[in-house]
Symmetry: C2
Subunit: 342 residues, 2 copies
């Protein structure tokens, strides 16, 4: 937070909107009308529209003690775009509603919107609407994303079939460890405010939590390869919980292998310093915003050598349950709970 702070009421609600959107340039030909009217107008070109929305609340979803506002703006957008990619679609526009109490200044909001615009630019989407409100306490964000998809190539959670391969992008567990590190440093700060936080060699896990990148590459790759997965979901609550969603919606079971779980070396190192099992972090940590998908096994050659895709198991019959094969060869039930419930 910078030193000269302008009270939001000094410029008013309309003034704040004007101020925050004055540099908002429209990038897409499909954006016919952007912010500044009752609603935005979006054109279509024989495509189907995909739409998703999420709400983030201070104290529930984020802690401003360690979440810089610019990162928060960036993440608020990217986690929403992640839902659009998870349908095998390309995001095109977003709308942003915020509510904030009077402890926030115009400079704070400028920082937050810098993150929003950075995400919009990086993923080629237009900000086309939304409003700002007063809140009685805290900071509330609600974002809606729109995307487009070639007719009938969208991918739901419900299409997985017995024998399909189960795959994930990137690697798992790092975001949870980033959060764990920030929570630890917060506790230290609260008891010893003069101790500087020590984030040396931890930038990877911190960035995975503070600045998640959605998996646009996978949607581009599917399009190039003319590959349509049978089911897909983004990993916000942890691999295990998302696998449960796919299995339940598709009425199938699954078998995944602990040794196949992609976990970065830095995640393993961080887990060891916290005395945590990296497999548990990967299964239940959440907030990785990788994509989890299933494909016809005949398509295996297309993904086999991709450096950013790991096949971790396969789809089974509903009656076979949801199973993890441990490194020691033991078959155990996959729990759907998040980390805190273990």
């Amino acid at each position: 937070m910078s030193n000269t702070q302008t009270e939001i009421k000094s410029i008013g609600e309309f003034g704040l909107i004007d101020f925050l959107t004055k540099n908002n340039e429209t990038k897409l030909a499909s954006t016919l009308v952007s912010v500044g009217d009752d609603a935005a107008i979006i054109d279509h070109y024989g495509k189907q529209t995909v739409i998703s929305t999420d709400m983030l609340l201070e104290g529930i979803h984020f802690d401003l003690m360690y979440f810089p506002l610019k990162y928060l703006g960036f993440k608020a957008v990217t986690v929403n775009l992640s839902d659009i990619y998870a349908m095998n679609a390309q995001p095109t526009q977003i709308l942003v509603n915020v509510a904030l109490s009077n402890r926030f200044s115009v400079e704070n909001m400028t920082e937050f919107y810098e993150g929003i615009y950075e995400a919009c630019n990086e993923f080629n989407v237009d900000l086309v609407g939304g409003d700002t409100n007063s809140s009685q306490s805290g900071f509330i964000i609600s974002i809606t994303s729109i995307g487009e998809v070639t007719p009938n190539t969208y991918v739901m959670r419900s299409g997985a079939k017995k024998g399909d391969l189960i795959a994930v992008t990137g690697n798992l567990g790092a975001a949870y460890l980033g959060l764990t590190l920030l929570e630890r440093e917060k506790l230290i700060y609260q008891s010893q405010p003069d101790v500087k936080p020590d984030y040396e060699n931890q930038h990877y896990i911190l960035n995975r939590f503070l600045r998640p990148l959605p998996q646009k590459f996978l949607i581009d790759f599917f399009e190039e390869q003319k590959l349509v997965p049978t089911a897909m979901i983004d990993i916000s609550d942890g691999l295990s919980s998302e696998l449960h969603h796919i299995c339940n919606k598709s009425q199938v079971g699954c078998k995944i292998y602990e040794e196949k779980l992609p976990i970065d070396q830095q995640t393993k190192f961080a887990a060891s310093t916290f005395n945590l099992d990296p497999t548990m972090c990967a299964l239940h940590g959440g907030e990785d915003y990788e994509l989890l998908f299933t494909i016809d096994p005949k398509k295996y050659p297309l993904v086999e050598h991709h450096p950013n895709i790991s096949v971790i198991g396969y789809v089974t019959d509903l009656e076979d349950g949801k199973k993890l094969i441990t490194k020691s060869g033991k078959e155990i039930d996959l729990k759907s709970q998040g980390f805190n419930h273990l």
Copy 2:
């Protein structure tokens, strides 16, 4: 609020979503995928998409002391649809995000969603997504509406031209008086809890505030008549404030006539009991959700005899300012502030 209350945590977040959406039937062929996946999928038929979003916060936008939850759900939807109609479009889908503290029960949310579904049915829109969250205090609602419009017949705030007629639907000022009545009864209740509120003969103004209906008829009428207004906006902050928006965006002035302002008899009666000037209520009251629009004067015969449309003035040059001609013939400046700033 009913007597048997189920704690929301007893059914969990996923349980709550399932419970609240289990009777959500899809009405529109364009709704390809509804709630239950990462995002909704909406088809298009050579139309353009219109999208708008709004946030409502307890203690800022509504007071649950006098706002029944079912009415709140209905109003949260209808005020959003009003923005879609204000673009000369037909709403088709909505997404609803809510956040609530643990003082709300499953029964409370059921009541709220009854209002949401009632509005969806009445205005033929599908609920296709959104999520529920915990809040640390109070009830927060964020709604996004999608609509469709025949290409290039959407109407912005910026198209008003000198000489255009200025018209409004329905009548003005009643919602503000409904709010004033509810606020008065709240104060009485707070000092004398045993005195029953007296709402006799006040149902019209109460309903105008608690259960606003957006002006779908006007969009249907425009389509039938092949009439496209030059500018349009919905009246949420009061006629005067909305006229300022149209004039500022269109770079024009306006002249309206006090004697032409449509004010219901019941509004005039209620205003007199509160010692308020009905003209001030109509100009600055807000929350009426009528539509304000401008049309080419050649189209006057099309609207002249419509029982639900009033022509109240005309568009002038920017340099002529924004003027009200009072009943006594005096020309005064139209202020843009809401009622409380008078």
